[in-house]
Symmetry: C2
Subunit: 387 residues, 2 copies
């Protein structure tokens, strides 16, 4: 049905681009799949029914490149008009991968945006340089740990936070499972833990940051973040998969807060699990986190409790730190069962610009060792391995 | 490190339960994996380091059942304390599947909650019965279509909406790629399309609903929803994967809005793609949508542009309509390339309590046919097949 639209389309011609890895029998089949993606992600309409040439020329994605990517796989580059994203992160994600997410055999490997395309996405407020400045730590990897386990009272967690800060940890985050449970209410936990870390800082002269978990129902996120800041928290932990990628952007962009944001992959991490579908590790952990303003991105390093490969981890490191539409580089935060015994190896793998997150193993005290001493060992290992 | 917590844990003992399908070499390996899940999803701490018995007994998940589920797979049932979810949907999702999402070989198949466990989750406001009441359609499947393609102006989309409503469609939604693009601004589109559908309703005496897409940056969702209602929209389209599951809950629970919500699986649908990881179709399309208040859930039916199986679709139908913690049943909305030629088959598959969504094929006019006539054919087919 041809439609003579009374308002003819007239877009700028500016494009963003995305690379999809397509599993297919041969290059022709990969190209056919790519052309389907061009339609699916824009007009979601059969090509033959597109009502006018302007839409076909200006809205529908265009395949601009194809390259073999191993046996039975091709990397296809598709360009989309920037206007299709409407200047919003939510619609950009939809344009890049909304419906294609439901399709096995297609994986979004990477994307490139013109600088400043999303006015609301100013990216990381701190990034690597800003976090180092705030912490006053310039010569070694940053060190992070989590307050856990769930089930401890705010008093007990605050006692832990005090010891961890005395021991020289740089960033102490809530475990991401600490929300506002009756056995550990948010307000009490945050007040006690922030006070404990500030007390330790007064004793050490250091600038350890406490990052409460503000992953919460949508209508409560802002209030928790402000309560955290008012209580003296030095940053925020947030799970965009649980409470929204754009909500993280909003936290990061909030000048009234002005706090660093550490992103945790709970739930959304499932989108990178299949190697032939979903999002690449680079997109999930690097690109989307940077766009949404995270200053550091947690992910499971190889050889821990999860099954990431060395290539996965390298791609995350690259996508956190490479040039990206004018956005600041951010810390990759390898985690998921890391141990003190692997600190040297982690430093060799990532270099100095990394945040090391060790949780449980910091509590696996050697005979005669206390928690403060063990933290100091962590600091010494990171200084030796990453300095 | 044993910690004598000054505030001893004392939970109610009330539990929720989850079933995970675990790929493993044998039952012992499946059980070992299940015990890891019990820790991972709660304390995220090595068992040996859990600081006191109360946490081990009351917080850590407990395996309460295991059953073979085909070659190399076992379904394991785990119970968690309701308090661990803290009464919040965001933390419930984290408890059920936060970190496990990152793990291949584990799939969340289903879960059961005690009734009223999440005070903020009142579930679907309308559900099947309420939507039928609002539409005045009781004797056949509901019929839905989308305003598309992207690239048409608000005027052109409103002309389409008018014809579709005259033709007897029950629900006309924005295509989920229509956001607030410069070539089709939200406010103008919604005003024009709502007016067009109301005008058609005055002519037909029917109660066709227009559902604008209010998937948007977090700080704009409420304003768009209110603008939509004020313009006369009869419901809302929302993509929880793009703008947050809890944000959908908030829209559905908003008494000041009081509008039905249609859920679209863009992006989040990727979590169900791998058959051995992620979320089952039942959890993703049924359980989470009902918890978060959707009145109808869109998903790709088999044989369309996506690769769902008959079993996938049956499980979605069941999880949308079965007994679930006192929440109203909702409409399954099979879609993704459905055609008029398949309406009878769809009615046979789902029975009468289904919402059929046909987009592009409604515009594939037969010789001499116009859009209004084609819509009437859709209505007649659904009446004949589903009555």
């Amino acid at each position: 049905m041809p439609i003579d639209d009374p308002i003819p389309l007239s877009l700028s011609g500016e494009r963003l681009s995305a690379v999809y890895r397509i599993q297919a029998a041969d290059e022709d089949a990969a190209l056919a799949c790519a052309r389907d993606i061009c339609l699916e992600q824009t007009v979601e309409f059969p090509d033959a029914l597109i009502p006018n040439a302007a839409i076909r020329d200006q809205i529908v994605g265009a395949v601009v490149g194809i390259a073999a990517a191993g046996a039975g796989a091709w990397d296809v580059t598709i360009r989309y008009p920037v206007e299709a994203a409407g200047g919003e992160l939510t619609q950009l994600v939809n344009l890049l991968f909304g419906n294609v997410a439901l399709q096995p055999g297609v994986r979004l490997m990477d994307f490139r945006l013109p600088e400043g395309m999303l006015a609301g996405c100013r990216g990381p407020r701190f990034g690597i340089a800003g976090l180092r400045e705030r912490l006053g730590v310039h010569d070694r990897p940053l060190l992070c740990t989590a307050l856990k386990p769930m089930g401890l009272s705010p008093r007990a967690l605050a006692a832990l936070a005090y010891a961890l800060a005395l021991g020289g940890i740089d960033l102490i985050k809530d475990d991401h499972g600490l929300a506002d449970q009756p056995f550990c209410p948010f307000d009490e936990r945050v007040a006690r833990c922030a006070e404990a870390v500030q007390r330790a800082n007064r004793e050490t002269g250091r600038h350890c940051l406490y990052l409460p978990n503000v992953t919460a129902p949508t209508h409560l996120v802002q209030a928790r973040a402000r309560a955290a800041r008012d209580a003296g928290a030095g940053g925020l932990l947030f799970c965009p998969g649980l409470a929204g990628l754009d909500t993280m952007r909003l936290l990061a962009a909030d000048d009234g807060l002005g706090l660093p944001v550490l992103s945790h992959p709970a739930f959304i991490g499932g989108l990178a699990v299949s190697p032939t579908a979903g999002l690449s590790h680079a997109v999930l952990y690097g690109r989307l986190n940077r766009l949404a303003g995270a200053d550091a991105a947690i992910f499971p390093h190889l050889g821990g409790r999860f099954t990431f490969t060395a290539d996965d981890c390298r791609s995350i490191h690259a996508s956190c730190t490479d040039a990206m539409a004018g956005l600041a580089p951010i810390f990759p935060v390898p985690a998921g069962g890391m141990r003190l015994a692997r600190v040297r190896e982690l430093c060799d793998f990532y270099g100095r610009e990394v945040m090391l997150l060790i949780g449980g193993d910091l509590h696996a005290l050697a005979p005669g060792e206390d928690l403060i001493q063990r933290c100091r060992r962590f600091v010494a290992l990171a200084g030796a391995g990453g300095g």
